[in-house]
């Protein structure tokens, strides 16, 4: 493939419940440090959640924070960090050639719930409905806030893909760079769902909201005693650019995006389909011109639901049945499910494996569910690998959207 068609990651900006930089996030993943807490949820009382502790005023005025959204703040923080880490000469760049592609699971739920609650304090008289409601809840809000904050005049929009959103943002960035529509992409995803009682109550009434006496043990994909999702907030945006541009400016290359796949189950609103998930992974492998055994690390999507984890494992066993070198891990066991951010954030946490040849573990697997058995599932502690050149990252979402991204170590 021509270098102008090869797309590389040259910057990473993230906020996670257990870290506000790639270095801190990675350190905690290697140390087994989860960070889940109880928060007071309107109408529900205490619930388990992953909450990020970044300082939004580093990059926003207090007024911007007051009138904007949490997803916007997360996106802005990640965008600044992604640009800083890319070492792009930002002030000199033509901002019309920068695209912002932000994956979301949902947007507007938090803001609408808050506004309706405020309205209830005034007898539901709509003259008290806030005029900030519309700009806060339009679907492009998180990307648009980044555009305004950074003066980026290229395209900005979100990609609604349920919990596959983060991967969709990355894939969109790759495609737009290949098409020559932009020269730089800020691509990934954000999630602010911890602000919505409706999302917690929805999962709870579906029997899919995690509960555990120890918050840090609540998110336990593949464990026999798992009982649901821990809802979290977070964000991750990558700086993406074409390989020739990155080489010309001698940029640090975190990895090359060599393949991706997106498809649909077309079966059920919530229950995933193993066959289509396997198909999605094969699509990505085909694009990357790789065989399953070429994959060193699989970052699984597993969310700690009983059925979802089993179905993904079934798909993984199918695709990787002849891949003795492939290892599997899961990041949600540390940080819960960051929704729209998940795909990008979970990929980011694995990228340093290219340098340290170590795969972080899946924690909280005290009693492996026999139906979640995977060869080389890394549990409890990190594992040193013979080879760590290729990562395959899965993200699946409601309504049966599947996405896979494959990233390779770049060798000059």
């Amino acid at each position: 493939m021509e270098w102008s068609q090869r797309i590389v990651i040259t910057g990473v900006g993230l906020v996670a419940p257990n870290g506000n930089s790639l270095a801190e996030f990675r350190k905690h993943l290697l140390e087994g440090c989860a960070r889940i807490q109880r928060i007071d949820m309107r109408y529900m009382g205490l619930v388990l959640a992953g909450v990020c502790a970044f300082n939004a005023t580093d990059y926003q005025t207090k007024k911007e924070i007051r009138t904007g959204t949490r997803a916007g703040s997360i996106g802005i923080y990640c965008a600044h960090k992604a640009i800083e880490s890319s070492r792009l000469p930002w002030e000199l760049l033509d901002k019309s050639r920068v695209g912002i592609y932000v994956g979301i699971t949902e947007h507007g739920t938090v803001e609408t719930e808050n506004e309706v609650y405020q309205l209830s304090q005034f007898g539901y008289d709509t003259k008290y409905w806030n005029h900030h409601h519309n700009p806060r809840t339009v679907a492009n809000n998180p990307a648009g806030e980044i555009s305004i904050n950074l003066g980026i005049t290229g395209p900005h929009y979100t990609l609604g893909g349920a919990c596959a959103g983060g991967n969709l943002g990355i894939i969109q960035g790759v495609q737009m760079l290949r098409l020559g529509e932009v020269d730089y992409a800020l691509a990934g995803g954000v999630g602010e769902s911890t602000g919505s009682f409706g999302i917690f109550a929805g999962f709870k009434n579906q029997g899919a909201l995690a509960e555990h006496a120890d918050p840090n043990k609540a998110s336990r994909p593949f464990d026999r005693d798992r009982n649901g999702i821990v809802i979290s907030e977070g964000g991750c945006l990558f700086t993406l650019e074409r390989l020739d541009d990155a080489l010309e400016r001698n940029a640090k290359i975190y990895g090359e995006i060599v393949g991706y796949g997106i498809n649909s189950d077309a079966t059920n609103t919530v229950l995933p389909d193993s066959e289509r998930q396997a198909e999605c992974m094969r699509l990505a492998l085909k694009k990357a011109e790789l065989q399953p055994n070429d994959i060193d690390i699989v970052s699984t999507h597993a969310t700690s639901t009983v059925e979802g984890d089993r179905r993904e494992c079934q798909a993984l066993r199918d695709v990787f049945k002849d891949a003795p070198n492939t290892h599997f891990n899961n990041t949600k066991s540390f940080i819960g499910h960051t929704m729209g951010a998940a795909g990008a954030l979970e990929l980011a946490g694995n990228l340093p494996s290219f340098e340290d040849k170590t795969i972080h573990p899946t924690i909280n697997v005290d009693n492996l569910d026999p139906e979640c058995e995977l060869p080389n599932l890394v549990t409890h502690t990190p594992k040193k690998l013979q080879r760590a050149n290729t990562i395959l990252s899965n993200s699946f979402g409601m309504l049966g959207i599947n996405s896979t991204v494959i990233v390779q170590r770049f060798n000059s």
Binding site: T61, R66, Y128, N130
Partner: protein, 95 residues
């Protein structure tokens, strides 16, 4: 004799200042904090960099916090702190 609940111009000035501090938390209010001054007659848009959404915020907070409605036709009356006080004082006192 004044009603004990009747607001003075100083009271209303403080109420408006508190609302501005809330809706424009980054604005430098020092020129207005020290008591009535020439700054009271400077358009808030120029003095504090308020925009049209900020004025809508002021209107909304007057409505929410003090049950005072400002019709759209009267928005220009909120131009300066002094004009705010002159316009709002009778409203606070139900006149």
């Amino acid at each position: 004799m004044n009603d004990i609940n009747e607001k003075t111009a100083t009271d209303v000035r403080q109420i408006v200042l508190d609302i501005i501090a809330e809706i424009a938390p980054d604005a430098d209010l020092s020129k207005l904090r020290g008591g009535t001054s020439d700054a009271d007659q400077t358009p808030l848009r120029d003095l504090l960099g308020l925009d049209s959404m900020d004025f809508l915020d002021i209107v909304m907070e007057l409505r929410k916090q003090h049950h005072i409605d400002v019709p759209e036709a009267d928005y220009p009356r909120l131009n300066t702190l002094q004009s705010c006080v002159e316009y709002l004082l009778p409203k606070f006192n139900g006149k």
